[in-house]
Symmetry: C2
Subunit: 567 residues, 2 copies
């Protein structure tokens, strides 16, 4: 006689839950697997919601279908996966002694008690709402669930809303901004802190801000929402902390999410300091028969070793797969941690990051760091290459790569993926500097952008390139510092675009013949740049070779200058 | 008094040479640096030649300009870089005792003797020509130098040539094929060996072959060129080894290149077994004052430790940069070796690879390997995802990633770059299986294609997925083996496209209810597949769970089937 089949209950039917269930099924055809899902849908492509809202595609089923076009409903789960999926069903309580989960079918109110041998908690996260008046007004929405997506898609299709405010200038905020922009709605993003996109260092965030402003959306920073204003229960505007009122018919809250841990906490499972469920490398909670994964757990940073919240769909799937293996073969698979990687499309820009920004590195207690800002094309100009602006962070002593932020109209995604893998491998700048990457003109420059970043970083680490970032130059200007500013581009480039910060133009090719035009005090600070600061770097070397002792290259050149310029 | 400036002579003005010279200049403003270049141009973007030939852009200057639009001629080198560039000048001899290079200005015949402290040899490679009659006929060209590009561009612009043969089905051959196709010339690629693109395993090469054939070019394999045929000194056709005559007005030879080592060999420098100049990790030849880099040297494989020829433009630049540093600070920089990475656009397909194919791994003596073939989309279907077909190779015992071949209309380049970095970091399948890559629908599936490759590989390594490749299935069919073939797609998919190899259709969702339709002999071999073989894998698990002991998943499913099919 066969042994009793293993009873597995999975709470949560979005990403980590179904993945754990499906993986467990593939490893044990006879386990009894049940998914409890509060929403009516299962395995939703939640990262695609804003493209549905924006009208990139119209068939809602695409969000809940397999690639073969089969809707992932309970029948699909039963037939294809042999998994019982209870939708519109809420898990009410976990009894760890009896090893049962009590759940309620919401439409009927019927309660069931499900016994388990192994339990998975994948309860996800919920939208945070700012604690201000008016948050329940009609017209205040979020974009977290498929129901939210339906509501916002209905707004788009009704074509009544002309003006919207997005509350929150993080990744989700700009995804919503993208969706509303695609839907033809005039959008203002408001961000409480001084800069948008907190995973970017401020000067890169500023460049994105400039781009978004010139491409159809407005941004207000340093100003949170004080109240949602309304008439007869319906939103009419948003009032900011500084008293400004922005009239709008729609406000979408996107200030972040918090892990859903109430059920786990009630069951006495350990909750971490960041508010997520504590799990070990095997995604096991403080109860060895209960696993947890997805947006409701805390992860470990592979860079700092510290706990972090990383509510991303890809990680939820990876964690679900690890859990599925451990459900059937305890200890079979580990989830080692995260490298903090993310990406977002904002109009024709991509904003991506992996690892730590300089600010995040310092906040994590890493002080021995070096940074470089590099601008350049993704592929050759003759193939219509597009701009990339990156900031790379490395550990000074070891040369270890700690992070890359990359923005621009160029192919950001490839560069972020490449460096994410380098960070995973704990590679150094030296490894990156000689990387053997796929090169052909449709795909890369002869020296790919990430290799150039590594070269510039190496030059800085070896003391060959004295860099200065745009923010520091701006600071020099603000304090009236006595520095000589040298633009080394061609007269034609200078006519088309220039900073107008008191610079002198001496094209690179003329520099050696015009050294007499430079400060004769060889200790005076000279700040040199060009379009992207490659020529700037070469010119700095020329000046140093001729005895100037205080030359600095403004990193990223004109391309990375985030402040107003003369033309 | 200043010390005597360092005298540096660089032979070769294409990639490695100018890069070495420029890097040396940046580290020493006072060195006397001279480049000897046989051709009239300098620092040509040679990998862009075929796009110029094909008419992707018309301004030839783009091939020899800086991004700021300045032509990299001797004046530019003098003014911007402080480097003397002697063009149309041939290096005749190196006297290592006197430390001089004798060179001749070709137009005038004037000879000069240049003394050096440090010498760089970057003499590149030359096109190999098959040793057959007619190779000097008008109309037999190659695409290696800018002069070749000019000649082929003239052919395009004259619009007289309608039919061309490309001799050689490797990377260069298909780049030429792409160029001629863009130029509107009907092209046949002929390849002496059984399969095109030798860096791919045969079944992937076959998929590319199928694609190219249905998109406007012809391919003949297993048949080399026996003679170029002509009338009055002008090409009229190509005769193949099997006697077939292909009429054509143009033949482009692209069977490969050989390192230019005559000068180095005459000077008594060590030449390796593969015919390239021997260099150590510092790119130093057997004479410590002479460095060499680019297509004329042998490199070390980071995977096998063996010597390889790797004539790629990106590596030449990297090596030039290493040399430039060592010229000024001996021992400052190392070039660790190559991971064998390349990429090529063929019409709307991309063909990329990094590391070793299964055949290359075996040829290098690595027998303990496992492979997987995986098909899937690059981004979600609702974002118009495109197909990628990959074959990954790993070391069985250690799980170390050894290679990825990736082809298809999807974003191949990103996946190859990602895995190239993983190989550089000596990462394992386990590392890749939990990689934290940038995920958003415009850029990736929730589980990126390379992660899925790692998952399938892991399943094979752990014995969870018994895979069989299309070639083996074909072999089974050819020998009349008694296997049961199961297609697990939907009836609609089956109507649209099917193999017609005796398969039975049982959709995944119906399988558990129709197990009685399967062979009752549970040791009989069952081969199962779907569109890409994800459902196939799940169905195999179902069958194994119900006692079938000889179930195999046909990897990559219908998408990776390279043979004729019923519809």
């Amino acid at each position: 006689m066969s042994p009793q089949p293993l009873k597995i209950v999975v709470i949560g039917g979005s990403a980590a839950g179904p993945k754990a269930a499906a993986k467990a099924r593939r490893l044990d055809e006879h386990a009894a697997i049940t998914i409890i899902q509060q929403e009516p849908d299962l395995s939703m492509a939640s990262c695609g919601y804003h493209y549905y809202v924006g009208g990139v595609f119209d068939d809602r089923n695409l969000l809940i279908c397999t690639p073969a076009g089969i809707v992932r409903d309970p029948t699909f789960f039963e037939k294809a996966k042999g998994i019982e999926a209870l939708v519109e069903t809420q898990a009410l309580a976990i009894d760890r002694t009896a090893k049962t989960v009590t759940c309620k079918h919401l439409p009927s109110g019927t309660t069931r008690i499900l016994p388990y041998d192994k339990l998975v908690i994948a309860t996800g996260a919920s939208t945070l709402y700012p604690p201000v008046p008016g948050v329940t007004l009609d017209g205040v929405l979020s974009l977290h669930s498929l129901a939210d997506a339906d509501a916002l898609r209905a707004v788009r299709d009704a074509k009544q809303v002309r003006t919207a405010v997005v509350v929150g200038g993080g990744l989700i905020g700009f995804e919503v901004c993208e969706a509303l922009h695609l839907a033809g709605i005039q959008t203002t993003v408001i961000e409480k802190t001084a800069a948008i996109l907190p995973f970017l260092d401020p000067e890169l965030a500023k460049l994105v801000e400039n781009y978004v402003r010139t491409h159809g959306a407005d941004i207000i920073t340093g100003n949170g929402v004080a109240a949602f204003l309304g008439t007869d229960g319906t939103l009419t505007g948003v009032k900011l902390d500084n008293g400004t009122e922005l009239p709008c018919e729609l406000a979408v809250v996107a200030v972040g999410v918090k892990p859903n841990v109430a059920l786990a906490a009630s069951a006495g499972l350990a909750i971490g300091a960041l508010g997520g469920i504590e799990v070990n490398d095997w995604m096991q909670t403080s109860d060895p028969d209960i696993y947890a994964g997805g947006d409701c757990v805390e992860c470990t940073s592979l860079i700092t070793g510290q706990k972090v919240l990383a509510p991303y769909g890809d990680l939820a799937n990876l964690q679900g797969r690890v859990i599925g293996q451990n459900l059937i073969h305890a200890g079979a698979a580990r989830f080692p941690g995260v490298t903090h990687t993310g990406i977002c499309k904002i109009f024709d820009y991509t904003v991506g990051f992996t690892g730590l920004s300089a600010e995040q590195a310092r906040a994590a207690g890493l002080t021995d760091i070096e940074t470089v800002t590099v601008a350049g094309l993704d592929i050759p100009g003759f193939m219509n290459g597009k701009l990339l602006i990156s900031k790379m962070v490395a550990q000074r002593q070891t040369g270890r790569v700690l992070g890359l932020q990359c923005i621009g109209p160029g192919d950001v995604s490839k560069r972020v993926a490449t460096v994410a893998m380098a960070i995973r491998g704990r590679l150094t700048i030296d490894d990156l500097a000689n990387a053997d990457l796929p090169y052909a003109p449709p795909y890369s420059l002869a020296l790919d952008h990430v290799i150039v970043c590594a070269h510039v970083m190496e030059n800085k680490l070896l003391g060959r390139m004295p860099g200065i970032c745009a923010a520091e130059v701006k600071q020099r200007l603000a304090t009236g510092a006595d520095c000589f500013i040298l633009d080394t581009r061609t007269p034609r480039e200078f006519e088309t675009m220039r900073l107008g910060i008191g610079e002198t133009l001496i094209p690179q090719g003329a520099l050696r013949a015009r050294l007499n035009e430079l400060p004769q005090n060889k200790d005076r600070e000279i700040i040199v740049y060009c379009a992207i600061s490659l020529r700037g770097y070469e010119c700095a070397a020329i000046l140093q070779g001729h005895g100037w002792r205080n030359v600095k290259v403004m990193e990223g050149g004109v391309a990375a200058w985030p402040y107003p310029r003369e033309r």
